[in-house]
């Protein structure tokens, strides 16, 4: 009996020692002409001049189904006429930035395109993913693997997504597919509390090659909700690939404007270049840093620092219309806390602590997008007005530099708050955040996603402007 126990212990230890998360590979040579980057993707059926960004929030299957409903509606729209050609608005989508549950829809569409509308519902939305993951936890082999310090619950989830949903696709598959939309699958750098996107630009300072990295692991990181799931670990090989830091980083650190986003972003990037302090990164759910996936697009729209600076494209007169569709699956479950005198329990307190800051930040992020667009339009108008006053006083005179490149903006916010019917709104705002929902609920979410898009006044304005 003792021998058997010893043998079992040895086998257990051996098996657990074998369990290790799939390691991201080092990058041999830094090269901006290679890898998963916006500028390296072709856009055969996509015009740059109409630039469409989709942002998919977190929220488990609820968020995945709502964002799928929006994609499906875009597909079903009649063609639009742009630059004299019939075009599909869905094919005009340039970037999808996603968080957590929304990352499943974004990644699937990025990998499989129109096939998404054939099998994504069965492969993910209708699936009891949560149940499948729980069943895996009951396997003795899993217990042994989880004893390893380098294999955790999130690695188990990533394996499942890799096999059952994403067919072992890597970012190399996306590079080979070579078309837009460009995906920004967002996670959170746990130490810095900052957004971490799965793009080669983000992997460059780590001297790591994203090409061989499974898309499923990026999606798993994006949806690694704290406590329920463990963080994903990434190895940092910085200093081994002749990485050249973007020029703006040194300027931002020298300016040291500590209240500016630029300084924060530069400090973050520089932190990855310290192999001594950060040989490993641990990534959590993207919702911790930005639960609607809009921060990356905002950086592109308001700075020339972003690797895919939309501002730069506008400056070069490449873009004339910008559409940003934010699909926010935020809920607001009923609460009876304020009807009771007794103090809320620990679970209730933890829920409030976990969700309130995320919701507030999401609100502020959408407000920041709208404010930025308003400011943009005011700047344009101020220059036009000034030019007109100048011409009145001095006919024929022109302001040097001419007019600002003119842009039409369409910020479209999709959320359950827009539903007019209180019962319907109540239903959707009380859905749970989980990776399993009844098929009927999934169907309702898909339908309401499409309907909310069509009912959005800003989206209607966009469609009217194409006529």
């Amino acid at each position: 009996m003792k021998r058997f126990s010893l043998l079992l212990a040895i086998v257990t230890l051996g098996l657990s020692a074998c369990a290790h998360y799939p390691v991201n590979r080092p990058l041999e040579q830094y090269d901006t002409n290679r890898g998963y980057r916006f500028q390296n993707l072709a856009a055969p059926n996509n015009s740059n001049s109409l630039f469409v960004i989709l942002a998919f929030s977190g929220g488990g299957t609820r968020a995945a189904a709502l964002s799928y409903g929006v994609l499906k509606q875009l597909k079903e729209l009649p063609s639009i006429v742009w630059e004299g050609e019939q075009r599909s608005l869905l094919n005009e989508v340039d970037v999808i930035s996603s968080i957590s549950g929304g990352s499943f829809t974004a990644a699937y569409y990025g990998l499989y395109g129109e096939r998404t509308f054939v099998d994504f519902k069965d492969r993910f939305l209708y699936r009891d993913v949560e149940g499948a993951l729980k069943r895996k936890l009951f396997s003795p082999v899993t217990w042994v693997r989880l004893m390893s310090p380098t294999f955790d619950r999130i690695d188990l989830a990533a394996e499942y997504y890799d096999k059952e949903i994403f067919d072992h696709a890597t970012f190399g598959t996306l590079v080979e597919r070579n078309q837009r939309p460009y995906l920004l699958i967002n996670a959170t750098d746990m130490t810095m509390g900052a957004r971490f996107e799965f793009t080669q630009n983000q992997f460059d300072p780590l001297c790591s090659d994203l090409t061989s990295y499974p898309v499923a692991r990026a999606v798993a990181a994006s949806s690694a909700f704290p406590v329920l799931l463990s963080p994903i670990t990434i190895n940092n090989y910085t200093g081994s690939c002749n990485f050249r830091e973007p020029q703006w980083v040194a300027y931002a650190l020298r300016d040291r404007e500590t209240t500016s986003r630029r300084f924060l972003d530069a400090s973050l990037l520089r932190s990855y270049e310290d192999a001594g302090e950060r040989p490993y990164l641990h990534l959590l759910d993207g919702g911790i840093a930005d639960n609607i996936g809009l921060r990356g697009p905002l950086q592109a729209l308001t700075t020339t620092d972003s690797p895919w600076s939309l501002l730069g494209m506008i400056n070069r007169k490449q873009v004339r219309k910008v559409v940003v569709i934010v699909v926010n699956a935020k809920t607001e479950p009923d609460s009876d806390l304020d009807r009771k005198e007794s103090s809320p329990n620990l679970k209730e307190v933890l829920m409030a602590v976990a969700t309130a800051p995320m919701d507030n930040y999401s609100f502020d992020t959408v407000a920041l997008l709208v404010d930025s667009i308003n400011q943009w339009q005011q700047d344009e108008k101020a220059r036009q007005d000034c030019s007109e006053v100048l011409r009145q006083g001095c006919p024929g005179a022109e302001m040097s530099g001419g007019p600002l490149p003119s842009i039409d903006f369409y910020p479209v916010a999709i959320s359950f708050d827009s539903l007019a019917d209180p019962d319907e709104r109540h239903f959707f705002k009380n859905l749970p955040t989980s990776f399993t929902l009844p098929a009927e609920t999934v169907d309702r979410l898909i339908a309401v996603g499409g309907r909310l898009l069509m009912e959005s006044p800003d989206f209607q304005k966009l469609l009217n402007d194409f006529q």
Partner: protein, 70 residues
Amino acid sequence: MEFVLVRYPEDRMVLVDGEERGITNVILRTNRGTHRFDLGEPVEYQPESVEIYVGGTSSIKPREVIFEKV
């Protein structure tokens, strides 16, 4: 948002911090802070590059950066 007008006798690409982010003689938008401005090839202009802090500009009064042909 900040505004910069890069002047040059010809139409050229403008590089902001080493990246193609604008064109000459058309106002470009950028974010506040220090930036380096260069022109696209051929390098027949001077100065070689201009490094300035861009802040406090407006769409009516952009910061001007002047390159001359040599």
